[in-house]
């Protein structure tokens, strides 16, 4: 069964249509990249999938592991195994990263009918996951994303993904604002999570990230539609030609 099946998806925000008929199927183990110019609807797609209430689906269907995703509230989607790494992770002063992670991990466990992790087990889990993302203890003690650099925020997103072990990871322009070192760490973190039963949807503006996270499929999104799909070589074509030929205007 497909991990994610998007059929003729139409969606918008505040009555403005943005997605105009998206079709996309992700099988377990696959990495799909969605590329497109600014304003093409890439972030709308990730917000719709994650269940942001401001984004309304007007037509079409999204199946996640065969279940109708729209039946689930945002937190239920996360508990069911969908993870969104934010383009702009939200700062939450007043809650430490550790406290937040524990609340998240145990919320997911509770949803799955598992016992909550106690303090010791939780710390063990953190220790096991933190090294790949080069997360220092100091970062864990600090308030969630508060005063984090751009790179720290994105590393923290992937670290959260590693802790929650989703079946589908959506990366919304995770590469934006990253220097090459931070980009490599993020890519290493994602690659470490690749497995035969886990899929990824990597949304990006640039080809650069895809040098490190090699996709199985690449889709070009323009004006709310997927206009071309292909293998990883499509990303390189885009790098050379830009989006202009689909966009009807200047691309990159």
């Amino acid at each position: 069964m497909a991990l994610l099946e998007i059929k003729d998806l139409h969606a918008g925000v505040e009555g403005i249509p943005i997605l105009k008929g998206i079709n996309l199927t992700i099988d377990p183990g696959e990495v799909h990249a969605v590329m497109g110019p600014n304003g093409s609807g890439k972030s709308t797609l990730s917000n719709v999938l994650a269940g942001h209430e401001a984004y309304k689906v007007t037509r079409g269907e999204i199946l996640f592991g065969g279940k109708d995703l729209q039946e689930l509230a945002a937190h239920e989607r996360a508990c069911a195994g969908l993870f969104l790494a934010f383009q702009y992770p939200v700062e939450i002063p007043g809650i430490s990263n550790m406290y937040f992670l524990k609340a998240a991990v145990n919320a997911v466990r509770e949803y799955r009918g598992e016992e909550p992790l106690d303090a010791m087990d939780f710390i063990e889990l953190v220790e096991a996951k933190k090294s790949v993302m080069k997360i220092r203890d100091e970062l864990l003690a600090r308030a969630v994303n508060s005063g984090f650099s751009g790179g720290e925020k994105k590393r923290n997103e992937i670290f959260q993904m590693a802790m929650l072990e989703p079946t589908l990871g959506i990366l919304d322009e995770t590469d934006s604002g990253l220097d090459i070192d931070a980009l490599k760490i993020v890519a290493d973190g994602v690659n470490a999570l690749r497995s035969p039963d886990r899929g990824f949807l990597v949304i990006t503006h640039y080809q650069r990230l895809l040098d490190y996270i090699i996709p199985d499929h690449v889709h070009v999104m323009v004006h709310g539609r997927i206009v071309k799909s292909g293998g990883k070589e499509l990303a390189l074509e885009l790098e050379d030609e830009g989006y202009a030929s689909w966009n009807g205007e200047e691309g990159l």
Binding site: E53, A74, H75, R77, A78, I92, I95, A104, V105, Q160
Partner: protein, 429 residues
């Protein structure tokens, strides 16, 4: 009418064997009270707080009883002076482990044994002539805590001042009077803790006067857990000498109608003054905080952080006045009042007031009133946390800044526990 009944209670009271100066002070205070009456909303300082329900209530004398078990306040049991309905309770007090030079006694005990210690201190800061609540308290106080630290005395364990209200069939009034004298370079933590049995109606009218002599460091807390039908009014008056540091952390959960009047006089150089507060209000609760930070001398810092969380039809008032007198050059004063509204029915009036008469000073103030951010809620939800739990977590996060600033771990832990219980019950309601 409560005004008449208060005056009547004063005239009919059993005249205690008190020193002449105190009798004269009480006589003057009841005259002040009669002249002032309860404040009305026509007065500038009472524009947003209507005390009519209190003014129209008749209060009986408190009976002496507490039927509920006193729970163990972890970390606060070492040094405790307890009062039940305003009267000292030896049974609930622990005053054995005091170092030399530290005096902790009930005010009545000091009055009967060594009243001269109070003379020139008691009533020196709290002005009955301009404040009806202070006037009523001065005329009628029966007891309270007296703390005196001699020069250089350091007390590590927090001093727990426990005021319990309970067992009243009729509404009753408790006029509590506390006096705290920190000698030169002394150091202590004082926790005023007001707790009421559920559902009983009473009026706590407390006055606390604090003297911080040169170099003294006093951390003062107030945890207000009065019953939901109680009226709670307190005047806190602080006088600071050069090089002293005073911090106040007031946390309010209880009372249907209440007010804190806090005044810090920075009367020496290089004084540091911190006034923080957190009020968590719900239903029809109304709580008012008035602070007055009075910078008299140069090179002093004051810092205020007040945060409010309001649910349902709660109403909070914050009025923070900072005065920088002509001599107070190099003053650094910061004031911040932030409020989080959890429902549309809740209301806040926030009024910063700066009066600056010196030219080389740094003064900032800010007030915010807001709701939980949808983007933050969504972020938590995408991590598996339900919307309700996300609301609680973000509310907790909002309040945490005040908790984090508390130097006493025992108080911080206790308040955190209360706050989590409050969030839980608000989420369920």
């Amino acid at each position: 009418m409560s005004l008449d009944s208060i005056i009547e209670r004063y005239r009919n009271r059993a005249v205690a064997d008190e020193p002449a100066w105190l009798k004269a002070m009480r006589d003057a205070a009841i005259a002040d009270f009669e002249r002032l009456g309860f404040p009305t909303s026509k007065e500038e300082l009472w524009r947003f707080t209507n005390v009519t329900p209190l003014a129209e209530q008749r209060f009986e004398a408190a009976s002496n009883g507490w039927k509920t078990d006193v729970r163990d306040f972890q970390g606060l049991e070492t040094v405790r002076i307890a009062f039940v309905n305003g009267i000292f309770s030896a049974e609930h007090s622990h005053l054995e482990a005091l170092p030399d030079g530290a005096t902790i006694q009930s005010l009545t005990a000091v009055l009967s044994e060594d009243p001269v210690r109070l003379q020139g201190r008691l009533g020196e800061l709290a002005d009955a002539g301009s404040n009806a609540f202070v006037a009523a308290n001065t005329a009628l106080f029966a007891d309270g805590a007296y703390i005196e630290l001699a020069e250089g005395v350091v007390l590590d364990a927090p001093i727990h001042l426990l005021f319990m209200a309970g067992d009243g069939d009729e509404p009753f009034a408790v006029h509590t009077r506390n006096l705290i004298v920190g000698g030169k370079n002394s150091r202590a933590t004082v926790v005023e803790h007001y707790i009421g049995a559920a559902g009983i109606a009473y009026w706590t009218n407390a006055v606390t006067e604090v003297f911080a002599d040169q170099g003294a460091q006093l951390d003062h807390y107030k945890i207000q857990q009065e019953s939901g039908r109680a009226y709670h009014f307190q005047t806190l008056e602080v006088s600071q000498q050069a090089g002293s540091r005073f911090t106040n952390h007031a946390v309010t959960f209880g009372s249907v109608l209440g007010r804190d009047d806090i005044r810090c006089n920075l009367g020496g150089e290089a004084v540091e003054s911190v006034c923080n507060g957190l009020y968590l209000l719900t239903d029809g609760q109304h709580f008012d905080t008035h602070t007055f930070i009075d910078h008299e001398k140069p090179n002093c810092n004051s810092h205020e952080l007040y945060k409010g969380i309001l649910n349902k039809k709660a109403h909070a008032v914050f009025c923070g006045r900072i005065m920088v007198r002509p001599d107070a050059q190099k003053t650094d004063a910061v004031q911040s009042n932030k409020n989080l509204l959890l429902s549309r029915g809740a209301k806040v009036n926030s009024l910063p007031q700066l009066e600056i008469y010196a030219d080389d000073v740094k003064c900032t103030h800010g007030a915010t009133i807001g709701e939980l951010s949808d983007e933050s809620l969504f972020y938590l939800q995408t991590r598996g946390i339900s919307r309700g739990r996300a609301r609680s977590l973000l509310t907790y996060a909002f309040a945490n800044e005040v908790l984090d600033a508390m130097p006493c771990a025992a108080v911080k832990d206790y308040v955190e526990e209360l706050m989590l219980a409050w969030l839980q019950s608000e989420a369920e309601a």
